[in-house]
Structure formats: C-alpha cells, structure tokens
C-alpha cells in the first residue's frame, strides 16, 4: 500500500454522518443540523470539540432550539446521542423532524434530499422570477443573506432539512431508546446518586461511562442544554469552568465525540461572574457563539424587523490548525473573500431569524433604506403636498415643514413666476428662523402659490433623497 492511501484511514471514513473538513483531512466534522451554523463553523462541528451557545435573554429559547437541531441531526444520521438535562425526554420530544413524515425517510439508507424546502421565502422567490428584469441586471447573482443547505456538502448531503412544523415521531424516540442510540440522563437523578460529591463531577463520570459503552466507530453527540441550572445544585463560576475544562479534556481523549452546551440565561450574562466572564467561558470550550435575541430590547426589534437577534462569534473550533477552518471557508462571515481580494475588509455582521419552518443564521444588512432588498417607491412627500394644497386645513404647527416643502416644489417645477422667486429668495435668506415665525401673509402667499402648482399637475412628482444629478438646484 502506498503512503498516500495510508493518510486517509478507513476508520475515519466509516463514521456515520460525518465527513472530513475541507481544510484539513485529519479533521472530521459533523453537521449541527442547521446549514448556516455549519457554515459559520467552517463546514460543521469537528469531532472531539465542544460548542457553547450563550443566550442571555430569559424570554426566548433559541439556545434550546439549536440543541434540538443538534439532537435531531444525530438521530437522523444514526449517530449516538446523549442528552443530559432536567427532563430530557421532554426536550427530545420537542425536537423538529423531517417534512413529509420522516418515518419512511428515516429507515431509508440514503440521506434525505434537501430539495423540498417549501418555505415562505422560497415561494416568494419563485413568484419574483416572473418579473421582467432589465438586461443589465438580469445576469447578476441574486442577493443572498444566507447559505443554501447544500452549499458546503458537495455531492453528498451532510445536513438534513428539518421542518419546525414537524415533530419527531414517538416511534423513532422509542426505537432509539431501545437500541441504545439515544441515552437520556436527568441531572436531578444523577445528583441523587452521591450527595457528598458535586453534581458536575457525577455528570462527568456518567458521560465517561456512556463514552466507554459506545462503539468508537459511531460518533457520539453529547448535549447539555442547561449547564448550571438549579438542578445542578449550588454551582459557582469555578464549578462551571472546571466542568467545561474537564469535559473538554475528556472529548479530546475520545475522537468520536462532540458536544453542544448551553448555560441558563442568568449564567449566560456577560458579567455573571464579574467582567470577562464570557471570555473565560470562551477559553474553556472549543467554539463559542452568543445569540442575543431582540426580545430583550424592543428598540432593536424596531431597528431590524426581519431578524430575531444578533449572533456574535467569540471563538471557533480549530482542532488541528492554527487558523480556524471557518476563517477560510465560511461564506457568511466573509473573511475568506476579503483575504484574497484587495479590500481586506472585516467580518460580516451576523444575525439570526426563526421563520415558521426553520432557524437561519444570516448576514445582517441595513434595512430597505440602506439600499438592500426591495425598493420603496411610495411617495414620501404625499402628506406634505396635502398640507400645501389645502389652504383651510393649514395648521400653524405644520408651518415650517410646509414652507420648506413649498420651496422645494417650486424649484422642481422650475417656475419663472416672479412672485414665486421672490418668496423663494425670502425663505432662503431668512432660513429656518423665518419659517419658524408664523406670518399670516406669508402663509397666504405660500398657500396660494402651492395651490397653483398642484392644480397644474395633479400628480406629485416622485422625489428621491439623492439629488446629485440636479445641479440646477443651486443655480438661482
């Protein structure tokens, strides 16, 4: 056998639901169940690594949702799954599943196709395709804020397409429990085994047992959705960091395991244990991301209505390289393109949204006014025009705005009327001070002129904020 063939050992290939990282053949990665999260991690979560999802918002459970995807993906790909939580069966029962009744697809050896995404965005795109697009824009790539589910997987699908409207069938949970594929541990019950020892130490012992009981040829996913919750006893920051550190060491020793961890919302707060708490957590795990939901702050919801929260990447797994694979291969982060292009730009801002059928991580852009997405064509001057045309309803409080609007309309229509030009100059010279002082004669004049203009052309001219192509604006 040649040395070239030796490099890829048959043991690594045999692991179900995994593939080698695009960056390094020695790194084996597995999907988290969310294609866009896989992209952020550089293709998937590497085996022997842990991912910490921090969610500090008490009124949402996006962290738990990420774990449900993680569990569901493990069950679909026939990997071993171990859940350690309070009432873990409830958590597993709440997992999403494949659309079109996954039972048949689950039993089939082939992975499920991702083509049948029937989401609301997809249907929106298909209706948009009928629109005739100007030739010069027709060839351009459609603007995308996230990655398609099959972007990284190449020929073989590595990430299943789950549907949040589907629940995992009970039959699958039962068969997984019976076959030993799924093992559930209630933290409260584990803690009762030995009252003298701390709960975290008992949990670690339990995990070690599970790892040893399983076969090294089947990947094992360990899911701890609420590390440090009240069921874990009186834990302090040292206990949590010690647990994470030992757990990480344990994962490193067993190359077929990976883990997804979350903390309760109060422990996830950045300053729970004084300044630098998030950083300490980030150092004790391989990958750490923070999901800051907007539900904690209504102002942010108003700012970005199409997203449900911000994503912050604190650290990323790099088990065999200095540079994380994500830096090279993540489309969403956008670092790879900037490294090769002349720009050398920074990382994209990231956000997440949860639609009816799926959770998506995507790039965060300015809203419509920033020039992204659909174009807003509703005339914004409509209300102002009404104020100008109707003399009787002219309110004193509307005066400054009305005066300015009238001037703008006059300029646009390019009137040569001497009266109008005199008013224009008056307003221009006196500026806003003149406009602020109510003057009945001026109101009358303005009103009559405005009425004259609008009676000429009923339809108000559409205006855009950007007027650089009108140099005559300043020519008077």
């Amino acid at each position: 056998m040649s040395s070239f063939k030796k490099k890829v050992s048959s043991e690594q290939i045999a692991l179900t639901g995994t593939r080698s990282s695009p960056g390094s053949t020695s790194t084996i990665i597995t999907s988290t169940g969310i294609p866009s999260l896989d992209d952020l991690l550089g293709g998937g979560l590497p085996l022997s690594c842990s991912l910490l999802v921090q969610t500090s918002d008490p009124h949402s459970s996006y962290g738990e949702l990420v774990h449900k995807y993680f569990i569901a993906q493990g069950l679909v790909t026939r990997q071993n799954v171990c859940v350690i939580s309070e009432n873990p069966l409830n958590l597993v029962k709440g997992c999403m599943w494949l659309p079109n009744s996954g039972n048949i697809q689950y039993n089939s050896p082939q992975p499920v196709s991702t083509m049948n995404i029937n989401d609301d965005e997809e249907t929106g795109q298909s209706s948009n395709e009928k629109i005739k697009i100007a030739w010069r824009y027709e060839q351009m790539k459609q603007f995308q804020t996230t990655v398609p589910s099959s972007a990284l997987s190449g020929t073989e699908e590595s990430c299943s397409t789950f549907d949040l409207t589907c629940r995992i069938p009970d039959s699958i949970i039962n068969s997984a429990l019976q076959s030993g594929q799924l093992s559930l541990f209630d933290v409260g019950i584990i803690g009762m085994d030995d009252v003298s020892a701390p709960c975290s130490a008992l949990v670690l012992r339990q995990i070690e047992k599970v790892i040893k009981a399983g076969s090294p040829s089947t990947p094992l996913r360990i899911c701890i959705p609420a590390l440090g919750s009240p069921e874990w006893g009186d834990v302090n920051s040292k206990d949590i960091l010690r647990f994470l550190h030992r757990f990480r060491t344990l994962l490193k020793q067993h190359a077929h395991t990976c883990a997804s961890i979350s903390l309760p919302c109060h422990v996830s707060r950045p300053f729970w244990d004084g300044p630098g708490w998030s950083q300490k957590l980030g150092w004790c795990v391989d990958g750490s991301i923070t999901l800051s939901a907007f539900s904690a702050n209504p102002a942010l919801t108003a700012l970005s209505p199409s997203h449900h929260g911000l994503v912050e990447i604190r650290s990323l797994p790099a088990p065999h390289t200095l540079l994380s694979p994500s830096d090279k291969f993540s489309t969403l982060r956008g670092l790879s393109s900037s490294a090769t292009s002349s720009g050398g730009g920074g990382e994209n801002n990231l956000a997440f949204k949860c639609t009816r059928k799926r959770l998506v991580f995507e790039t965060l852009h300015l809203d419509v006014e920033g020039g992204v997405g659909e174009r807003r064509t509703t005339p914004s001057t409509g209300t102002v025009m009404q104020g100008v045309t109707n003399d009787n309803t002219l309110d004193q409080s509307l005066l400054p705005r009305t005066a300015v609007a009238a001037v703008e309309v006059l300029l646009e229509e390019d009137l040569k009327v001497s009266v109008a030009s005199s008013i224009t100059s008056t307003v221009q010279m006196e500026g806003s001070v003149a406009a602020m002082v109510p003057n009945s004669s001026m109101i009358d004049t303005l009103g009559s002129v405005g009425g004259e203009v609008c009676s000429k052309g009923k339809k108000p001219k559409k205006r855009v904020a950007f007027q650089s192509d009108r140099p005559d604006l300043y020519d008077f």
Binding site: K238, G282, H320, S337, G345
Partner: protein
C-alpha cells in the same frame, strides 16, 4: 522585515499574553518547531493545561517535524496538567516532572507553560500558581533554559493580579492583541513586545510599543508578520 517578536534570545523568561479573538498559540507552536529544528540536542517540555497532544502533533507535522518521534527519543516531554487534577492535588507533582526532565539537559532547552489563566479559573490558588512559576523560573535560569508562560487577558485594559505578578518574573512580555476594528481576513492581530524588569540591555532587543505593533496573519500552520499598513489587503 528583519525582526519579528519571535526572534528573541535563548535562556529568557517570556510572558505571552493574548485575548480570546487573538489566541497566541501560533507563537508557542512556532517556538517549539523552530527549537526542534535548530537545537537537536536540546530538551523540550510542554506543560499543557487546555490543548491536547493531537493539535501539537498536527501542526508540527505540517512543518515536517514528528513530535511523536521526539517524545519517544526522550528529547520532548509532554505533560497534560489536567490529568494531575491540579485543583485538588496542587502543582508540586508537575514541578517534580519538570525537575526530572531538566536534570540532564543541555543549556538551550525550552519549557512551555500553556496556560496559567485556566489553572486559576478552575480553582488553583493564585499564590500556588505564582510559586509554581517562580520555581519554574529558577529551574530554567539554573539550566539556562527558555521559559514561555502563556496568560489570557480577559478584560482589555484591566490587567489582573496574576499578570502583574508574572510580569515581575519576565524578561520580555509579548503582547498579542486583536485589531481594535474587529476581525479581518487580511490581518489576524498585532504583537507588541515590552521589556520586563529583568530585560537584557536595551541594545540586544528593541521593544515594539503598542503604537507600532507588528501585525500578523495566521495561516493553517504558521503566521506571517508585516508592518502596519503592509497587509495583503492594502498592498
């Protein structure tokens, strides 16, 4: 450029600090690899708290260095500190391992302690860590070995007490920081070099202040240093 923060003389005590967005692993790995390549006779000791043996091996193998072979030959000692459970049994046992390993070494040996912050966070007392580092330093000075101590700074601009104490032991302080403007594909971070209280005469090594910190870009297995404004993206 002629000088990088990695080109420091042998037999010094070097404190390396980093932050979460800019880990200083690359300095430790490069030091080890260049030490293996340059000093065939020297002894190398890695005291690792968080990072597994697999990563050290994987990165070294990309530079055609076989660490497993080094370990078998006895020129490299890898100590997984976690396996000693230092938060319960203390650091004395680990120190004994180091003393044993340094017993018959040549002057140009290398000791890497990666890292002291995690030890503190998992419950080893600051005083114990400091005593351990002081004892390590004494051993390294005795054997003319180079000692690298890595420490994580978690709050920018607020150095902790352990850092202040360690700084007193160091010959040089290598300060690895992320860019203030955030992550970038072209620049991974910047490195400044400060002189410690026990620094050699200034003529031997010129310090690099933060205002003129050298920038670097990470690759899979190494790093590229360049002056500020000379990144791939700019030129």
């Amino acid at each position: 450029m002629s000088f990088t923060p990695l080109d420091l003389p042998q037999g010094i005590i070097q404190l390396i600090t980093d932050e979460l967005p800019s880990p200083a692993d690359f300095i430790l790995h490069q030091k080890l690899i260049s030490h293996v390549k340059e000093s065939k006779e020297g002894k190398r000791i890695i005291l690792s708290v968080s990072e597994g043996w697999a990563k050290w091996q994987a990165i070294a193998s990309k530079h055609n260095v076989n660490l497993a072979q080094e370990e078998n030959s006895g020129s490299l000692t890898f100590v997984d500190i976690s396996s000693f459970e230092p938060e319960e049994s203390g650091l004395r046992q680990i120190f004994n391992v180091v003393v044993e390993a340094l017993k018959e070494c040549t002057p140009d040996s290398l000791v890497i302690l990666d890292d002291v912050s995690t030890l503190e966070w998992i419950g080893v007392s600051t005083l114990d860590i400091l005593r351990f580092c002081r004892a390590l330093r004494a051993q390294c000075i005795k054997h003319q070995a180079t000692l690298l101590i890595r420490h994580h700074l978690v709050v920018y601009g607020m150095p902790d007490q352990l850092f202040r104490d360690l700084m007193q032991l160091a010959t040089y302080h290598v300060d690895v920081r992320p860019l203030a403007s955030g992550r970038s594909g072209a620049v991974s971070g910047e490195v400044a070099l400060h002189l410690g209280p026990n620094a050699l005469p200034p003529a031997s090594v010129k310090p690099i202040p933060r205002s003129r910190a050298v920038q670097y870009r990470l690759t899979d297995s190494g790093s590229i240093f360049f002056e500020r404004g000379n990144s791939h993206g700019v030129l």
